[in-house]
Symmetry: none
Subunit: 426 residues, 2 copies
């Protein structure tokens, strides 16, 4: 008995999403409705009632881990997700190429946190940084990897390091003619130790040294001279945030005796799945955006069932539309999930042999434009699921669903239907 | 206001149990349906969503304790349940009379983990073991008690002991003409310390010495000579597993100010109830099997209401039929629970004076034949229970029940309806 877990990021919504209620209510979803008629619905609190989930914490909870005890920050999952090799004890950061004003004595003002969404030259900049960054602390292994546009990740590995340091990202930008108050707020931050110990003090010093060396290595780098010649913002400093360590998670394979695979366009979701012991499958066309190829993802999932007992498919576009406040785009994307992903999927799998779970990692209501703490509809389908009489998949149907309301644990429940759960007790 | 908690072990099931859905759905249960019409239903996660319960952990959780913090193993409850006197700090084991090949230097192969389900002579064997086992560690009190067939329990009491030892039971058997691989797997195991401390090392040594002494005491015991003369497997070694300590549980009487009594055929369930401070009532005819006398159990419960505020009745047969994969037997047994137990019970109690809860400790679906993590239907009836409009008691009705879905805590809720809960806060 095999399992497919599908998470549409930010799937749920609110009655204020549009004239026909939530985007999910407004969407025509004949395939999902047919699945609802075979299965059972419920309301999922991704982490717990009233808790507004992050993407990382929600995924941990849905996969059966307790984010309150294992989560230290997003950096480690980003590092894993972009293909870096992360070991326990490494201090991991999310990183941005950014633009600062000339750095004299005082910390410089950040004028563009994304360095004009730089799209070329990141590898050359990374190489230049690597050439000088080692000198920041000779016994610390330094690894920086760019991912997409201005994004990247950094790993520090060595003795006497700590994740308990503040970030150097001011999270706001200011221009030369901004108010003095705004300009002060937009200055590059000095990383500070958050614990009173030598490791935290040392790590903060290294973060500050890396920022300084990134500026020295990049200020007159050919990539930036070329950008400036074309009127683009130079990528002349590295912002570091989300200092964290990889949590030690009991691998899915050991707990449930099943090989798991993830199909996701977004690095974070691959990272969480990899941390849980799954394999990441490539899927050309999976972009992590509204333009993703949903048919390709369905095909990849079907193919992967051949030699995996669990496939986790992450679909990001719903959340992007929610963050953009674009209800029409979200509704249309949900209809594409129904027609391109699920219609293809169920045409090719035998629902007497496969259990399927579909949910979101949180709601992203249109007017709020961010993750909300409201519960999310969840649906299970398969031979061991007791049908509950629902004939529609949306927030309201889920509220009347036969599975009631529960927190996280979607994957343990799904693999429980597949008779793969370990017994607690005797 | 008095309370009756009835647990039918492994009560719930799945749509795949049989042609008419789950055994509970297929069963004709007019009494339970009438109770449903007066009361309220819900879905119970015995321990938590997605957690596959053992019998011991599920009962602890249903009684209101947190198995994650109090559970160390099944042995202590088995010891209590068969009438042994267990103190805090005792190391308790479940024990089997078993058959091994001749024990020379190497650990012998176990050929029958149940010694032909030995039915007579256990007391004589126990006496012979007691005569030699004390010498294994003079300052340790050793108490072994046989229970039914090949089963028994062992307590070690004394200074410097630890429950952190592995068992000597290989959990598989092999015959003389088995493959070498199978024979190796079936060798008696050497108990090992699981913690790196003197107490664990000492306890493992004692376990190994007891196994050796059981072999010496029993190999030519008249009981075994007689068994072998009749072509039966000799009971020539003691298997020990489930090393555990009795958890310190706040007694029901202290928390709720109520005298509790348990009526159960199975030792484990009596053991958990005794650990919770209840009294065990004898009920001739309660076998813990499909042949149990359900009318006698109803009568015993009714009689016990006289001088107890809480009666906990455990009915085991539903689980036995589930483990056997016999859906028809399970359906018929559920119909017997309805007609013989509940019909008699409600004819004799006043449901304006008594609150009643009925549930299972887990599901035991027919095709899986073991405990599944799916939620279980639960029903409360009594003057303080808000009726929810349900008119049927089964998994699907429970999914639409007015009590929603919750984890464990059935006894605290039941005694809450009886106005017996302590207040948390002020």
């Amino acid at each position: 008995m095999k399992a497919i877990l599908v998470i549409a990021d930010g799937l749920g919504g609110r009655p204020s999403d549009g004239p026909n209620g939530s985007c999910l209510q407004a969407a025509a979803t004949p395939t999902l409705d047919a699945l609802a008629s075979r299965g059972a619905l419920g309301l999922l609190d991704p982490i717990g009632p009233g808790i507004r989930p992050g993407s990382d914490t929600a995924h941990l909870s849905i996969l059966g881990y307790n984010p309150s005890s294992v989560y230290t920050g997003r950096g480690a999952f980003e590092c894993l997700g972009i293909g870096m090799d992360v070991a326990c004890g490494d201090v991991c950061f999310r990183a941005n190429f950014a633009t600062v004003e000339p750095w004299d004595d005082a910390l410089p003002v950040v004028t563009d946190r994304r360095a004009g969404r730089i799209e070329t030259g990141q590898a050359e900049l990374a190489a230049a940084l690597h050439a000088v960054a080692l000198k920041a602390a000779p016994d610390v292994r330094f690894e920086f990897a760019p991912s997409t546009e201005h994004r990247g990740a950094l790993i520090l590995r060595g003795p006497g390091l700590s994740r308990h340091v503040s970030e150097n990202d001011p999270h706001v930008e200011a221009s030369a003619d901004d108010t003095e108050e705004n300009r002060e707020a937009a200055r590059l931050q000095r990383s500070r130790p958050l614990h009173d110990d030598e490791a935290a003090r040392r790590t903060a010093t290294i973060v500050n040294e890396i920022a300084r060396r990134s500026y020295e290595a990049w200020r007159e780098h050919p990539v930036n001279l070329d950008r400036e010649a074309h009127g683009k913002h130079p990528a002349n400093v590295l912002l570091l945030r989300g200092a964290s360590e990889l949590p030690k998670l009991e691998p899915i394979g050991e707990t449930y005796g099943v090989r798991g695979a993830v199909i996701a366009g977004g690095a974070l979701y691959r990272g969480v799945a990899l941390a849980a012991g799954m394999t990441s499958l490539s899927c050309p066309g999976a972009t992590g955006g509204l333009d993703t190829d949903l048919t390709a993802k369905a095909t990849a999932a079907i193919d992967a069932l051949e030699d995996h007992g669990l496939i986790f498919v992450h679909i990001k576009g719903t959340d992007n539309a929610g963050h953009d406040g674009d209800g029409e785009a979200k509704r249309r994307f949900i209809e594409r999930i129904d027609a391109e992903f699920f219609a293809r999927l169920i045409a090719r799998i035998d629902l007497e042999e496969v259990h399927l779970a579909f949910t979101g990692d949180h709601t992203t209501p249109i007017r709020f434009g961010d993750h909300a703490p409201d519960p999310v509809p969840v649906m299970f389908v398969g031979p061991n699921v007791m049908p509950d009489g629902c004939t529609r998949f949306d927030e309201r149907a889920a509220g009347a669903g036969g599975l009631g309301r529960f927190s996280g644990q979607v994957l343990p429940m799904l693999l429980g239907y597949c008779d793969r759960s370990p017994k607690f007790g005797s």
